[in-house]
């Protein structure tokens, strides 16, 4: 589109002047292109500048005009930071495993045998989108507190709540995958060949929706990496809480910006994998 009507070709006179009927569409097309590229340029600036500022700040040295990578090497040595990163990554793995082993069998089972429950399950899975995490944690805090009076709970116990937070995202990813395949036929074929329900799920249905599984895994991981509310109120230190604590001590600590940039890069990488896998799949189908 842009190649046909370059932006520079539009002059105000052309846009304003009344057009004869035949060229009405082409003038509108030119105006549309001008509008589109203005919007995209402004949006790109607005969204990239804060990111750029953050990355730039992570390289700024103590002297004006000096640039250094010390903020990046500090990630490994800053007290407590590496621990928080490790806990967050472990939490992500646990949450993904629990999420999928809870949701995948249930969703397949509902599609095969208990269709009448599907609306209820969908409603419950999407409910966490409407109940703010801060409300959820008000209800969870007494539970955690009473358990903590008897045994000490490691921060990894946060996964109970994180599975709930990730439900809507995992549900939607998995539902899209299940919609794309004929679960019933696959299951009936496998069952009539003597497969157990376990085999149906693990060896027949799951391999046919691996892209949806991957999608759900990545979205869940991204959510756990960015979670702050529940961890901070239950007084656990994950990555975001650690960053917040550093910022309370020194707002301009370079390590804040390098760690933030690194975690953001990691999230970008996850989503890049996601969109790449999605395209592969699309090409196969065509």
């Amino acid at each position: 589109m842009a190649a046909v009507t370059p932006v520079g070709a539009v002059t105000p006179a052309e846009v304003e002047a009344p057009q004869p009927r035949g060229s009405m569409r082409s003038s509108r097309l030119r105006r549309l292109n001008l509008f589109r590229w203005t919007v995209f340029t402004l949006a790109t600036l607005f969204f990239l500048l804060p990111l750029f500022a953050m990355v730039r700040f992570s390289f700024v040295g103590t002297q004006p005009g000096e640039y250094t990578i010390s903020a990046w090497t500090q990630i490994a040595s800053y007290p407590g930071l590496l621990d928080a990163i490790r806990i967050t990554l472990e939490l992500a793995v646990i949450t993904v495993i629990v999420e999928l082993s809870l949701l995948v069998p249930t969703m397949i089972w509902v599609r095969l045998r208990v269709q009448w429950l599907s609306r209820t399950i969908e409603f419950l899975c999407l409910l966490p989108l409407t109940i703010p995490a801060i409300v959820l944690v008000v209800g969870l805090a007494p539970v955690y507190r009473s358990v903590r009076q008897h045994v000490s709970l490691s921060p990894l116990q946060l996964f109970w709540a994180y599975v709930i937070l990730a439900l809507p995202y995992a549900y939607r990813a998995l539902a899209a995958g299940l919609d794309a395949i004929d679960v019933r036929t696959l299951a009936e074929a496998a069952r009539s060949l003597g497969a157990s329900w376990f085999t149906v799920m693990v060896r027949v249905v799951a391999p046919n929706m691996w892209q949806a599984l991957l999608n759900a895994m990545l979205l869940t991981t991204a959510l756990v990496l960015g979670e702050f509310t529940i961890a901070s109120i239950l007084l656990y230190t994950n990555l975001q809480v650690a960053l917040y604590q550093i910022s309370r001590a020194t707002l301009d600590a370079g390590v804040l910006f390098s760690t933030s940039a690194a975690s953001l890069l990691f999230a970008f990488l996850l989503l890049l994998i996601l969109s790449y896998v999605g395209r592969q799949r699309g090409r196969e189908r065509r």
Binding site: F40, A53, R56, F57, L124, P132, V135, A267, S275
Partner: protein
């Protein structure tokens, strides 16, 4: 197991639903029970009797201020985010549906809509913070609605693009051409055709954005950790600094207030969504 033919047995005895027990147990314990605790505790007193007195707390001037602030911030960031997001969604939808621009825009929106949290506040502090700003040292950065609203808009606009794009895609080229054939201008099209058709979707998406910023906590806390402006911040203070039962109750009453506001918003959203899907198929 294979010899018993559980398929037929299952049909005779309707026990198939038992397979969903783990799911319902988990959701019941970690989603419904906590929400129930909040509602129950805010409506009862220490002895467990129904007591609506704590609801009155919601109208206490000090408590009301947090709600007013929350609603103000959510309204500003939702409306601004919705308007700019809708413009971007239209610019995206009017291009090549398989083009690079569209793929970049949808993938980017997916990432940026999730990019809230404490890191977003750091990024803005690095860009326009009063001491370390790189573009400008904005003196209004820590002023209540404007500073934090700008930061919120950063994740509201991409969310709007994501939720509004399907509605814009549902608009057909033929409608525009029909308007032109009848002698209508661009203004006529938006005033009489496009605008009214997209209005329910636009309002619905705005409500979703509203609920989104209402429940946001990390960003505002990282932006300003000395003063509590919005309800989630006050909930956090009430719950972490609690000594007696009185302040535990405060957290729960505030949480109940949030549930009520969000419920109203989401019910309106569902109603609008139903109206939208009637037209845009």
């Amino acid at each position: 197991m294979a010899g018993v033919r559980p398929v037929r047995a299952g049909r005779r005895l309707p026990l198939a639903w038992t397979g969903t027990i783990p799911f319902f147990a988990y959701v019941g314990l970690f989603l419904l029970l906590p929400t129930g605790i909040v509602v129950w505790n805010s409506l009862t007193d220490a002895s467990g009797k129904l007591n609506l007195g704590s609801i009155k707390t919601l109208f206490d001037p000090a408590v009301r201020m947090y709600f007013v602030n929350s609603l103000e911030l959510s309204a500003i960031s939702a409306v601004v985010g919705a308007v700019f997001g809708a413009v971007i969604a239209y610019a995206v939808a009017s291009g090549n549906p398989d083009g690079l621009v569209r793929r970049l825009a949808t993938a980017g929106s997916g990432v940026l809509a999730q990019f809230g949290g404490v890191t977003l506040a750091f990024a803005f502090n690095a860009a326009i913070g009063p001491t370390s700003g790189f573009l400008t040292k904005a003196s209004w950065y820590y002023d209540f609605p404007q500073g934090i609203s700008l930061i919120y808009v950063y994740f509201q606009v991409p969310l709007m693009v994501l939720v509004f794009l399907p509605a814009v895609d549902g608009m057909k080229m033929q409608w525009r051409e029909a308007t032109e054939n009848l002698g209508g201008s661009t203004w006529h099209f938006w005033r009489h055709v496009g605008g009214p058709l997209l209005a329910p979707a636009f309002l619905g998406s705005t409500l979703l954005l509203f609920a989104n910023s209402l429940s946001a906590y990390a960003t505002v806390q990282a932006w300003e950790n000395q003063i509590a402006y919005v309800v989630p911040q006050q909930i956090s203070i009430a719950i972490t600094s609690e000594v007696g039962l009185a302040s535990a109750n405060e957290a729960q009453v505030l949480a109940l207030g949030m549930v009520i506001v969000v419920a109203v918003v989401m019910v309106s959203y569902t109603l609008l969504q139903r109206r939208t899907s009637r037209w845009l198929r």
